[in-house]
Subunit: 342 residues, 2 copies
């Protein structure tokens, strides 16, 4: 067991018969120090591996160089959610390059309970990224109304900078494709729950834009589920079949996970995709391209979502800038695969 002695700023100062003030200046590239000593100290520091204890540093600085990331436990969305995990990963990389780390905002630790805000205050968090949260959660509300800079990937928060996929544009991509390339008109929609603003937007855009294209969307072609699951997609398709005499030609499903359930139901009913009916998802989860048939879907630009959120948040923190648009839309992309066919 190698027991490197833990060095402090005093050890470095002693070594050169300098004061800790001088060392501090050197470590932070501030003040005026002779190039000579600066060079020597820097070399030594590197050699022995001295790093300031961040707790001491942050205590006097009254900040942490750390961004809090909040998940809503209500939605039970954790790291396991592939979409959010990916967005966070990109966010993390971006802020790290700029000198920040991320920590997860937490409401209970041991038997200490916190509000989001209290936790952030007690950690001197510099800013927070609300990845998935509900705008009727009072804890979230308290947070976004505080003086801590916030940015979110969620839609519909008042007074918080949001970075979200352009759902309307994604839906238009789908409908234009159906209309212009697939040349189909009878289109159904299966959507996730309206408690999510993303699904709400997608549904609204679908209704409006399909009307604009004069597509035949019968009233009973629209099915709204009350959750996000495979199984619901499965059931939704069966319901759709039961209530219509004439099947749609294309089914748009506003989430890939649900789309897989739809595809399975179709398979079980021996309805061939894309020959008898075509299916289009939304998200482009990793499995979409590996499924058989591979799923045509809308790809959300996870990298751009995470990085843009990071960029705005860091600007908010550093420059106190606030003249951003409250809402930043990230373009989506249509990925054509096997569940549709020209």
């Amino acid at each position: 067991m190698i027991m490197k002695k833990k060095l402090t700023i005093f050890d470095i100062a002693d070594k050169f018969n300098l004061s800790i003030g001088t060392i501090s200046k050197i470590m932070n590239g501030k003040g005026t120090v002779s190039p000579e000593t600066r060079k020597n100290v820097l070399e030594y520091v590197k050699e022995v591996g001295y790093f300031p204890i961040s707790n001491a540093r942050n205590l006097v600085l009254k900040r942490s160089y750390s961004i809090g990331v909040v998940f809503s436990e209500a939605l039970d969305i954790g790291l396991e959610h592939p979409f959010f995990a990916s967005v966070i990963q990109h966010f993390k990389k971006y802020v790290e390059i700029r000198g920040y780390e991320i920590s997860f905002v937490v409401r209970q630790i041991g038997d200490q309970k916190f509000t989001y805000l209290d936790w952030c205050r007690s950690r001197n968090i510099d800013g927070v990224y609300i990845v998935a949260g509900s705008f009727d959660d009072p804890g979230i509300l308290e947070l976004v109304n505080s003086n801590i800079p916030c940015v979110t990937t969620e839609i519909g928060f008042p007074n918080v900078h949001s970075v979200v996929s352009d759902n309307a544009q994604g839906i238009q991509l789908i409908l234009d494709y159906i209309h212009n390339d697939l040349k189909k008109e009878k289109v159904a929609l299966i959507s996730g729950p309206m408690s999510s603003n993303s699904f709400k937007e997608r549904t609204k855009s679908f209704i409006e834009y399909s009307k604009k294209l004069k597509m035949k969307v019968e009233d009973n072609y629209i099915e709204v589920l009350d959750n996000y699951e495979f199984k619901s997609g499965y059931n939704a398709l069966n319901k759709l079949i039961n209530k219509t005499d004439e099947m749609p030609q294309v089914i748009v499903v506003s989430s890939d996970d649900i789309a897989f359930g739809v595809l399975r139901a179709l398979f079980d009913k021996n309805i061939k995709v894309p020959d008898h009916i075509q299916v289009i998802g939304f998200d482009d989860v990793p499995y979409a391209e590996r499924a058989t048939p591979a799923l045509t879907t809308i790809r959300q630009n996870r990298k751009m979502l995470g990085e843009t959120a990071a960029e705005i948040l860091l600007d908010l923190i550093n420059d106190g800038k606030t003249d951003f648009a409250w809402l930043t839309h990230i373009e989506t992309e249509l990925i054509i695969r096997e569940t549709t066919l020209k």
Copy 2:
């Protein structure tokens, strides 16, 4: 914008004309304080939402109540990896209940570069969880040889407590099932790269145990890939077909992701699963049950993996206990789905 004044221990002390020492004792449940004042202070603190600044606290305590989590960037495994993300999520929950948080160990932040150990030291990290790392990474080596308690989910580290799935037992589950229930004998193996100890173990167990069951594993029935990907699985199957006159009856694939590639290749060759050939994976990724046909596979107990690692690490930190077995095996489970059939 609500601007709650940031409270310190002095504010609380003033309020009651007590000294900060007394408040500190109350906050930490230490020392002797009259039940009366304790009650009053606790109530007030709760009401106004006072929490100690963790930087100040950790500075004097010389610890952080925080566990570092390390990913190997070499393997480029991030949060996006569904298996590890899930294990970490369970780990996180477990340690939080016991009063710890997690942070990601990081090697570069801004233009400061750290070794893993230096980062941990500078943050006063209490212990570290090596989720995926390579034992020939000198940074990892330095870390595990330090005085910071470590635990890993990786196989093959000397002198580090490892918590891993029982790969041998998983393989036995598969082969017993093939032998006793499926009643097949001609079995092939497609494995991920030998640079991963998990794949090495699975392959080794497969060879040994299939021999023990007197199965017919021809020499060219074993295919080792050099990566983890869908595409490699796809190619591997084609290779297998080309080099054997007689196809195996069952293909064991030591990772689900690769198995999906195999299934797709089979589909493209119009070889029906499970009628013509049967396929068994390893991992039970979320998509395994949603695929068509749904994949028979070995489920790794991600919850148990994360929680056991957490438990050992916390014991190491708190009790300085060290009398654990160096290696803890977590049982796996066979999940029978549609790619196999009695």
